[in-house]
């Protein structure tokens, strides 16, 4: 570079984007190649393939080709079992999402202010999130909520003169929702608690000091007017992550109410969409209808996750 360069050419601040050096293009594509190829082969191609499948009569075959227009979609949308699975999903979400939000926030508030043994409490509530849904389903079904008298819950209820409750062990079982909701709560509440604790630690202390000066009573008032509004973004992402997870529930339903691919029995009591799609695509080998159902479900998830953000302008980090 010449020493007599005009002033305008001399950069004082660091450039926002470094200028491309020789070989930038080659380096870029070399670095993104593995991920790019992988995402194309295992996400984009399946979506395209699935779209063609959903327009085909594909019974016992994974190849699209026998096109039948939108018949698979109309079939699925008039299929009572599939509609019931969507209702199951919505009802389940209405229970699990607010409960998880409330419990994880409550735990976060309890643990965050615990002066003594804070990391101990945090660990105790967080550890279950390392356990798999299959393992938790086994414990819940075979030990905790075993329908016979040696199940732990029945053992605790026995002194109150309550006869062993069958839970999930009979035809038309009572209280099976309690089993399904508590298992997921145990598994995921600790994870969301961690996210809330991180959110709590971001709230400036000065806000609480100002509130104290203004005479706000510690406890409910500061929670209502400072903590909750400050946690708005965290709450929103916890609710969304939770909702997306609830819409894709599979493991505990499959393992607690049946399993082994049986479509009869208790599995049909509460069958979320993924369990139904599993039995349609891999049980009945009807890939056309399975793919159509998958697209309907994807559309629902996208709608539910995008609309609140658009309506309330939430979820965007405004930090």
């Amino acid at each position: 570079m010449a020493v007599t360069a005009p002033l305008s050419k001399i950069k004082t601040a660091a450039p926002a984007r470094p200028r491309p050096k020789p070989g930038a293009n080659l380096a870029f594509w070399a670095f993104v190649a593995p991920s790019l190829i992988g995402l194309i082969v295992f996400t984009l191609v399946p979506i395209g393939w699935g779209f063609l499948l959903s327009l085909s009569h594909a019974q016992n075959t994974i190849h699209p080709g026998h096109y039948v227009g939108l018949r698979n979609y109309t079939d699925m949308l008039t299929d009572e079992a599939f509609l019931r699975s969507l209702v199951t999903m919505v009802l389940y979400s209405l229970f699990i999402v607010p409960l998880t939000w409330g419990m994880s926030l409550g735990l976060a508030l309890l643990v965050d202010k615990a002066g003594w043994g804070k990391s101990f409490w945090r660990t105790v509530f967080f550890i279950p999130s390392a356990v798999s849904y299959v393992v938790a389903s086994l414990i819940w079904r075979i030990s905790l909520f075993n329908g016979l008298s040696f199940g732990f819950a029945n053992h605790l209820l026995a002194p109150f003169g309550i006869h062993p409750i069958a839970w999930v062990g009979t035809v038309d079982p009572p209280w099976y929702w309690l089993v399904l909701v508590t298992v997921r709560l145990w598994l995921q509440v600790g994870f969301y608690m961690i996210i809330f604790i991180a959110g709590l630690q971001e709230i400036p202390k000065s806000l609480y000091e100002a509130a104290a000066v203004d005479g706000a009573a510690p406890g409910w008032q500061t929670l209502r007017y400072i903590t909750l509004p400050q946690l708005r973004n965290t709450s929103f992402s916890v609710l969304m992550l939770n909702l997306i997870a609830a819409f894709q529930a599979f493991d505990e339903f499959y393992n607690i109410l049946g399993g082994g691919g049986q479509s009869a029995g208790n599995a049909s009591l509460a069958r979320p969409p993924l369990v139904y799609l599993y039995s349609t695509a891999l049980g009945d080998q009807d890939f056309g209808r399975g793919a159509a159902g998958a697209f309907i479900l994807t559309a629902l998830i996208c709608a539910v996750t995008l609309i609140p953000g658009k309506l309330f302008g939430l979820g965007r980090a405004d930090k």
């Binding site: 293009n25 670095f31 295992f42 191609v45 499948l53 994974i62 390392a130 159902g293």
Partner: protein, 279 residues
């Protein structure tokens, strides 16, 4: 000023509630250990036996000696799958994240748009067409068929890009002056300085891989390719399984993760908050 003891007593209700909740949260772990160390007769006894009178370690031996179950195969499969997924997903995602954050090139915007588009698609929902593609590629009943889709994560790429965007430019510039190219900067400067995020996301990846169920269930239709989770799931419908043995199996499947969790807890908390939408 309050004294320490006053502080403790005014906080007493909090500790009572915390203790009660902690007991509830630990209960399932207690049930695993208790059942895994008792005999079937003790488990099904009419009165509740709180602690195993004498621990029956032989349940674990019986579990691995019993050739009717696939526990050994399942453990090996799960370990291989989780380690390979951890190593390569971290490597591929950090490479792509670096390129998107740091290499100005034509097509960068396009690739990032593609990553964001894939991010929007809920993973579990695509399992039907993904199975069709995998069947076409010949990946059903193979280990690579279970592994392959998990090696590429739009979410990890996104997080790595966020991380590398905040990486101080001066370090990179200094490296350039020393004559490092794009590859050299990545290898000598960025990788050594991103061990914290790699560990944080890596542990979460490992746990997620070890615990995943739907995809291994769909791909592994033959017992030789079952993972631990699929094997455990088959126990629920097996007729010949002993209760004590079943809980020994559960203990074996959970224990490695509990150890990983306790050792790496700081990283896991970091990873959870980083990927929990706070950033």
């Amino acid at each position: 000023m309050k004294t320490r003891s006053q502080n403790f007593w005014s906080n007493a209700p909090r500790y009572v509630v915390l203790t009660a909740l902690a007991v509830l949260f630990v209960l399932p772990f207690y049930l695993i250990v208790r059942n895994a160390l008792m005999t079937d007769a003790q488990i099904t006894a009419p009165g509740w036996i709180w602690l195993p009178p004498s621990p029956h370690w032989e349940n674990f031996r019986a579990l691995f000696d019993d050739h009717d179950n696939q526990m050994r195969t399942g453990l090996i499969n799960s370990a291989v799958i989780a380690v390979v997924t951890l190593v390569f997903q971290t490597l591929f995602s950090s490479m792509a994240g670096y390129a998107l954050a740091r290499i100005p090139a034509r097509g960068s915007g396009f690739v990032f748009g593609l990553v964001l588009a894939t991010l929007m698609i809920p993973g579990a929902v695509t399992f039907v067409p993904a199975f069709a593609v995998m069947a076409y590629l010949g990946g059903v009943n193979t280990q690579w068929g279970v592994i392959a889709p998990g090696l590429f994560s739009a979410f990890s790429i996104f997080l790595f890009r966020q991380f590398y965007l905040r990486f101080p430019a001066e370090i990179e510039e200094a490296g350039r002056l020393d004559g490092l190219g794009y590859f050299g900067v990545y290898w000598h400067l960025l990788l050594p300085n991103s061990t914290s995020i790699m560990t944080a996301l890596g542990v979460l990846t490992f746990i997620g891989s070890w615990n995943s169920f739907l995809w291994p269930l769909v791909i592994g239709q033959d017992p030789s390719s079952w993972t631990v989770q699929v094997v455990l799931s088959t126990f629920l419908t097996a007729q010949t399984m002993h209760l004590a043995q079943l809980f020994a199996a559960v203990a074996v499947a959970v224990l490695p993760l509990i150890v990983v969790f306790l050792v790496m807890q700081r990283s896991i908390v970091e990873g959870a908050t980083f990927s929990g939408g706070k950033e």
